[in-house]
């Protein structure tokens, strides 16, 4: 195997990990954001949490693994990104921390104030990371100030440019839609009706933001140079999928609608990675300073070792995670007699 083959392979694998993360944590971030609004009483809120209860932690590991894989395969990418996006990552961590403990802590005390506090932690811990990850990916495709030593020279405000913020909003909106469709699949009774009623409205917001994002992508990124004026199958399919999601929502075919939002998330991310390739951190200071899969990667030996490990274990992980969704395929009833706390 040539070095270049390994570098491309790991670029793809890291993209796959991010896609897995956005697809899975996307709906559980969405569910977390909806929690204080859709759940009208404590049992309903617990039912909402229980739709993602067995899964959210496993979903989050996709992010940890994406981080670890970036460290192992492209140390410079990891170092430049994590030190450069320092303040944003701090807020991301705070969000993930309060969210993670909230799932475990919120039902351990009956005081309504205690529960409300942790429910808002789940909300914040879902909305904030979603927003920040969207901001990050918009900036990945747009490029950012990076000097000749591979160091990020901007600050937090550099990332919060209009395109970055739009990326953040699009991500929040699509996660909300993904989550509300997931709830429509996994709940019943009043909760299901309420989720179903709101899904259409969220879809409209997503469509408006996505359309803006589409235009902005041509204005802010070098998509034309990378993919051409006609960007090709992947981005167009992504647009078709989000339109079809609306159709399936109106027909109350939530399984299909969920597949469509999932497809949109995956294809949009693939588009972002296609705009980047073979760069991994685009320098807006000087194109020469960009980090690429060639100048940011580990040695061929490390890449080979990691390829073997990934080849063995990724299928195993996928198999048992898919099995967990099969085990918990039933809808969750907001009934205190059957709820797991």
């Amino acid at each position: 195997m040539t070095t270049e083959f390994l570098q491309i392979l790991w670029f793809i694998l890291i993209a796959v990990l991010w896609i897995g993360f956005f697809f899975l944590e996307g709906f559980d971030f969405g569910v977390g954001m909806l929690l204080p609004f859709l759940g009208k009483n404590d049992h309903e809120r617990r039912a909402i949490i229980n739709t993602i209860g067995p899964h959210w932690d496993g979903n989050e590991v996709w992010l940890i693994t994406a981080g670890g894989a970036t460290f192992a395969a492209f140390p410079h990418w990891y170092a430049t990104l994590f030190s450069g996006f320092y303040p944003a990552l701090f807020f991301l961590l705070v969000g993930l921390i309060i969210r993670g403990v909230a799932f475990e802590f919120r039902s351990k005390d009956a005081n309504p104030k205690w529960r409300s506090l942790w429910d808002w932690c789940i909300f914040t811990g879902s909305a904030l990371p979603a927003l920040l990850l969207g901001v990050a990916f918009a900036n990945f495709s747009k490029g950012m100030p990076i000097d000749a030593d591979m160091q990020y020279t901007g600050d937090l405000l550099t990332l919060l440019n209009p395109f970055g913020l739009l990326g953040g909003l699009v991500t929040v909106a699509i996660f909300l839609l993904h989550g509300i469709i997931f709830l429509s699949l996994k709940t019943e009774g009043d909760l299901l009706e309420r989720a179903a009623r709101q899904a259409g409205k969220v879809w409209i917001v997503v469509i408006v933001l996505t359309a803006l994002m589409l235009v902005a992508t041509y204005a802010y990124t070098d998509i034309v140079r990378q993919l051409g004026i006609n960007p090709g199958l992947v981005p167009i399919a992504s647009m078709i999928a989000i339109l079809l999601a609306g159709l399936f929502i109106s027909r109350r075919q939530y399984g299909w609608a969920f597949a469509m939002t999932g497809l949109t998330i995956a294809l949009t991310l693939i588009t972002a990675f296609m705009i980047m390739f073979p760069r991994v951190m685009i320098s807006s200071t000087n194109p020469e300073y960009s980090l690429t899969i060639y100048n940011a990667s580990s040695s061929p030996y490390t890449l080979t070792v990691m390829s073997i490990v990934a080849l063995i274990f990724v299928p195993i992980v996928l198999a048992y995670q898919i099995w967990t969704y099969y085990v918990f395929r039933q809808r969750v009833k907001a009934d205190p007699k059957t709820l797991t706390y």
């Binding site: 009483n41 404590d42 229980n50 067995p54 959210w56 932690d57 496993g58 989050e60 590991v61 940890i64 693994t65 670890g68 894989a69 460290f71 192992a72 395969a73 140390p75 990891y78 170092a79 430049t80 994590f82 030190s83 450069g84 320092y86 303040p87 990552l89 701090f90 961590l93 705070v94 993930l96 921390i97 309060i98 993670g100 403990v101 802590f105 351990k108 005390d109 009956a110 005081n111 309504p112 591979m150 160091q151 600050d155 580990s298 040695s299 030996y301 490390t302 070792v305 274990f313 990724v314 992980v317 048992y320 995670q321 967990t324 085990v327 918990f328 205190p336 007699k337 709820l339 706390y341």
Partner: protein
Amino acid sequence: MDPVVLSRWQFAITTVYHFFFVPLTLGLGWFVAILQTQYYRTGDETYKKMTKFWGKLFLINFSMGVVTGIVLEFQFGMNWSEYSRYVGDIFGAPLAIEALLAFFLESTFLGMWIFGWERLPKKVHLASIWLVAIGSNLSALWILIANGFMQHPVGYVINETTGRAELVDFFALIGNPKAWLFFWHTITSGFATAAFFVLGISAWHLVRKQNEDLYKKSFQLAAIIAVISITLVGLIGHTQGQELVQTQPMKMASIEALWETEQPASFSIITIGDLTGKNLVWEWRIPYALSFIACNNFSCEIRGVNEIQAEYEALYGPGDYIPLMVITYWSFRFMFGASLIMVALAFYALYLTVRSWPEKLSHPRWLKWMVPAIALPYIANSSGWILTETGRQPWIVQGLLKTEQGVSTAVSPAWILATLLGFTLLYAALMAADIYLLRKYAMAGPDAALQESEDSAPELVGGQD
């Protein structure tokens, strides 16, 4: 404000905090798995209650360990990006493997275990908790392989063109004897932490004669685990001494604040003075003891700080190669002292369960002292890591890269300070919530743990509106 100092404080606070939760997770997972296996085999409801009770405390603790662990993986890139560039080729691999092999396993099957009591076949549900225990211990192995490289780099070459360390022998990396000694020392410490946790909480209930059957059984099992694990902790710790004197002689000399080479070397239990060797007020020394710690005999020569400093200056150029002695000296004594008390208490607990078992166990005068003894393994665990990490200074990777060279250059000190304060405040608030819940559930006994998960008893679920 020096970014190196700020980043070191941040690493110290977030890592020590993370490691408050990890050892209990490592040990208590196996404990719960054993209890559930007993329930599975005998159908005895007491074992089910025990599984639920200790399982509840396990979960509260586990969640804290998970969320504080994410910070560590991010922190290498955030605060130590130049370190990450330098060793990413080697250090990133075990981290990625840890996520892929261990994190997925423990998090996925923990979800299955919490929510699967009624949903999964009994055998599969039992397997879930075993997989959680295996997963969390596997995670310890891979992160210690990564840390082992920082203490004793193996399996690498320095690439002349890039100036970075590159992996050439993966099996040397994962076979690093340093890492495996760390691993067994950490795992057995985890067992000891869990055992003292169970002993203390059981003693609290036994003194009050509540649920005596359940807590006697817990106490008995924990006493056996405590004796075995704390003995192994000591034996492996002793073996580490012989490895340490070979690979990190400066750390060994700093443990004793041994300035001049000695043969045979003595060990001071306590020193009153400033550890410079010049302003000694009083000390209590045991002859031959340092030779025993370092070489497993009573006669070997232990090189002093001054000799090693001179050798390092010749080898690495001018500089200060001496760690902060007041920390290395005292952290070793805290670790060692806490462990010795644990040995005594573990055998006392075993004596209670064997000699006066079971009639008189409710009364022994000393039983209530097992409750504050829960703190002992925490003191030992934290001191041990503080010793290991500060004893390596000024190196971030022993002999290869200095800590000051590893810090991020793109991050402003103001942000490091802000996040240092942010993490500290957040962690303090979470610690309060965590201790509140652990206390509440530990004191409430097994019925609260059962009700909450099975019947949703109104007084615990509440909040109807």
